[in-house]
Amino acid sequence: MPFNDHYVIIGNGPAGNHAAIILREKDKEAKITIISDECVPYYYKPKLTDFIADEIAKEDLMVSFLDSYKAKDIRIRLGQEVERIDPESKTLFLQHMEKVNYSKLIIASGSRARLLPPMSCYANHLKFVTSYTDVIEVKEEIKKLKSFFIFGGDLVGFKFLRMLNSMDKTVTILICPNAFWPYNLTDDMLAQITESLSKFNADIIVKDDISTIDEQNGSYRVKTQKGIEKNVDMVFSFNGLNPNIEFAKGSGIDIDHGILVNEYLKTNIDGIYACGSCAQIYHPNIRSYTTSIGWPNAVVQGEVAAFNLLGDHKIMESVGRKYFDLEGVKIKTTWWEDIDDES
């Protein structure tokens, strides 16, 4: 073979990084490149709220330090966005108009904050805590400001609420039933969550929705459909995540909500795999596609995708924690599986 293989991984989260580690372990000669639109190396997203509150330093947020990529001879291209894929020529087109050729591709591009369609007209008024970039943008501001409005209420949202409480901020939270997408919280769940949150110093609004958000001299007036009005310094949206897959559209890769892969994490195109929260994985038992959530699942998916890219036939099975605790409400990370006991 005149040239070594070039394995390209789109995404710098747990799935992408663990895929890269397996690829390097199993193929010492191949060229391996991780491309990420984020500017920082592999970091632990669940700790972002701790980072905002200065409970941990930036170094503590990092999972993988720069030296480790060098040691493994993995090239990492940070701050570079993939614009489109051409599977025929096996070429990635980056946003800055550079072409990158690959032999095989793993898409582990993760997710970004989900903006509810009715809120799209207020996108400029909303802040998110989905990425390091989001956090750096608001970290210092949060320390200075007093009042906050939280719209939604997913896992990170509730963690963010706890953080604001610890910082003695004034908080209003409007809990949306579908914030924990793809779940829809039932009335019982909502009641249980509301009860659980009552221990915090926060105004809790349920069974309501945002009507308008108006900016006034740098602060915001939030009106709900039931007529509640709040003047706050910052409005945050926590309504789950959407797969980051715009670059794959039009490439011929099958896409639904995420990138569709079989139980071996392979897409409909040879040599292209997808894993992590950007992928919808076919589950033979339920004969449908599922999206798993959580860090441990992403790690295993990355590893499975890498093994299979190298010729193995591993079937993706969910691992690790089976439940998330949403303020007392247990939610299965792989809800399609018939598992009752928390492992």
Partner: protein
């Protein structure tokens, strides 16, 4: 007051406005009260599209050296900037063109080569320039606009600086540049999420006296004019040409004459001729030109005719690397030429001291009737600083000729043996002041004389003049003087002195007991002061920009002890970071 200390590099191809953008940035930051040091590197070739880099260090504190690595790299050209990335800090910021005219092949985009930890901001430089001006010529200003937006720099002040830079151009040129800047500013404010820590917001520098933004060559020319230079002869050569360029314009306004000769040999000949005629005269050249002048320098010494040569060193030997800095003419400046040929050699240690050194050179040449060599280098010649406007020289520095009195003229002896070696010098045309002058060894009257005793007597006289020269020079600069002992003493000369001084101060903060020593006068050298300093130091380090350690060899002969050496021939100025690293390893 918050502090800032940041190095910004703009990298582009010749013709892309790289150097202009750097100049505007420097001038604006200086106007805001910051200390600045900027340094451009560009290709030697006049034609073509070689790499240009405008390097600017901006600080709220005093700056001693340009800084080795950049905090920010603005890439106007991907091909050149890929190589320039090696000088960007590991956590540095890259500003690049995110929408070039043509797609890049793999690995042909600068952002593709950023290392993990670097932050990259993609700005559509080309597209915004076209939007503002209809062509790509405003890319440099778009980039400055992006920089201003990212770092919260005063937009209005910046546009004023751009207007001032192009004030003599047509209005359409001014508008194009300002519009390009504003396009870059607005787009960046709207589209870029800033994640780097740099900000000029809230940073104010105390109001300072009016500053002069100037490089070494400009300051040499200014000093020469202020010190009554009346004749200049020269042949253009990088990096000294700018001196001649300025003087060609300004010297005639001051009643002087500038002569462009056919080569360097003619130039020094003309300078010695003018000096013989009583004019303050000088030439400026670089290593290859100095080599040509060497034979003639002996005449200046032997005939005791004032002559000043500015040698702005560049990487050699031969034609070498014309646009790269080096300190490799030390040997030829101090001891080049034939015979026992004592001369005064001055090596300014920073931009500001170029003024003082030039005034001193013209004064000493005239007073001591000899050759004075002023050693600049590419970095000193071209690096721009904002300095306080220098005070004009005192009157005694403007006319230093020791003229013969009536008694001397009764039986005038041009080369009269005196206690201090200086003989009264009659300017041709002085009644009773006729004399012989020759490059041959001579007696007191100037007539050729080859006797053993005569040669010895005259050689002693020529050397004796230097016994008092040191008292005329500024005292050596020592960073810390109130201690009896240092672990490391850093001895440096010329343009490396700033980096050495900065390294010694940084070392102190890191627990290394260090001090630095440098002297503008390198021939004759203040040996006593050097020995006194070295005796306090357990170890000696001599950093310099040449391969063989020319100054270290010289200093070792004085100190008669081992010295550690640190030599670079990278073509870049000395970096304090490298000196500090060496100190840690010692």
């Amino acid at each position: 007051m918050k502090d800032i200390n940041i190095v910004i590099e703009i990298c582009g191809s010749a013709g892309e406005g790289t150097i202009s953008a750097g100049e505007i940035l420097s001038r604006f930051m200086s106007g805001q009260g910051f200390e600045i040091m900027s340094f451009d590197s560009y290709p030697a070739e006049i034609r073509g599209f070689g790499k240009c880099v405008a390097h600017t260090r901006i600080s709220t504190s005093r700056i001693y050296s340009p800084g080795k690595l950049a905090d920010v790299l603005i890439a106007l050209n991907d091909k050149h900037s890929i190589f320039q990335l090696s000088t960007l800090k590991e956590n540095g910021i890259l500003i690049y063109d995110s929408q070039p005219v043509r797609p890049h092949k793999e690995d042909k985009s600068v952002v593709g080569w950023t290392k993990p930890g670097m932050i990259s901001y993609g700005i559509p430089l080309n597209m915004l320039a076209h939007k503002a001006t209809g062509n790509a010529r405003g890319m440099n200003m778009v980039a400055l606009g992006a920089l201003a937006a990212l770092f919260y720099v005063d937009k209005h002040g910046f546009t004023d600086s751009i207007k001032a830079r192009y004030a003599k151009k047509k209005q359409i040129v001014i508008d194009s540049n300002v519009n390009s800047f504003l396009e870059g500013y607005s787009w960046t404010k709207k589209n870029i999420k800033k994640i780097d820590p740099y900000s000029f917001k809230g940073i104010t520098s105390p109001k300072q006296k009016e500053k002069l933004i100037i490089n070494g060559n400009q300051l040499v020319a200014k000093a020469a004019l202020d010190a009554n230079l009346s004749f200049y002869a020269g042949y253009p050569i990088t990096p000294a040409t700018k001196i001649m360029e300025i003087l060609s314009r300004e010297l005639p306004k001051h009643g002087g004459i500038l002569l462009q000769t056919e080569d360097e040999i003619s130039a020094i000949g003309a300078v010695i001729g003018a000096g013989f005629g009583g004019k303050r005269a000088m030439t400026a050249t670089s290593g290859p030109g100095f080599a040509l002048m060497t034979e003639f320098t002996g005449l200046s010494v032997m005939a005791e005719v004032p002559a000043v040569i500015i040698d702005s060193q560049r990487a050699g030997p031969s034609t070498g690397m014309p646009t790269k800095t080096e300190q490799s003419d030390f040997n030829s400046a101090v001891s080049g030429g034939t015979g026992d040929c004592p001369r005064i050699v001055l090596a300014p240690t920073d931009t500001k001291s170029c003024y003082e050194a030039t005034v001193l050179a013209l004064y000493l040449a005239e007073k001591y009737q000899t050759l004075v060599v002023l050693l600049l280098d590419f970095f000193l010649s071209n690096s721009i600083r904002n300095i306080n406007i220098p005070e004009k020289p005192f009157s005694e520095y403007l006319d230093a000729n020791i003229a013969p009195d009536k008694n001397d003229l009764k039986d005038y002896q041009r080369y009269k043996i005196t206690k201090n070696g200086i003989s009264p010098r009659a300017i041709p045309g002085t009644p009773g002041g006729m004399f012989f002058s020759t490059g041959l060894e001579h007696d007191a009257s100037g007539r050729p004389n080859y006797s053993e005793a005569g040669h010895l007597e005259m050689t002693q006289k020529r050397f004796r003049k230097f016994n008092t020269v040191l008292s005329e020079a500024p005292a050596p600069e020592i960073s810390i003087i109130d201690r009896d002992e240092f672990d490391i003493g850093v001895i440096s000369w010329g343009s490396s002195a700033g980096a050495a001084h900065e390294a010694a101060m940084s070392a102190q903060k890191k627990g290394i007991n260090a001090s630095s020593f440098s002297s503008m006068m390198v021939s004759p050298f203040p040996e006593k002061a050097l020995i006194e300093f070295a005796d306090k130091c357990k170890k000696i380090l001599i950093p310099e920009l040449n391969f063989s350690g020319q100054f270290a060899n010289f200093a070792t002969q004085i100190l008669k002890r081992h010295v550690e050496r640190l030599n670079f021939i990278t073509g870049r100025p000395m970096a304090s970071e490298d000196i500090l690293q060496k100190m840690k390893e010692m």
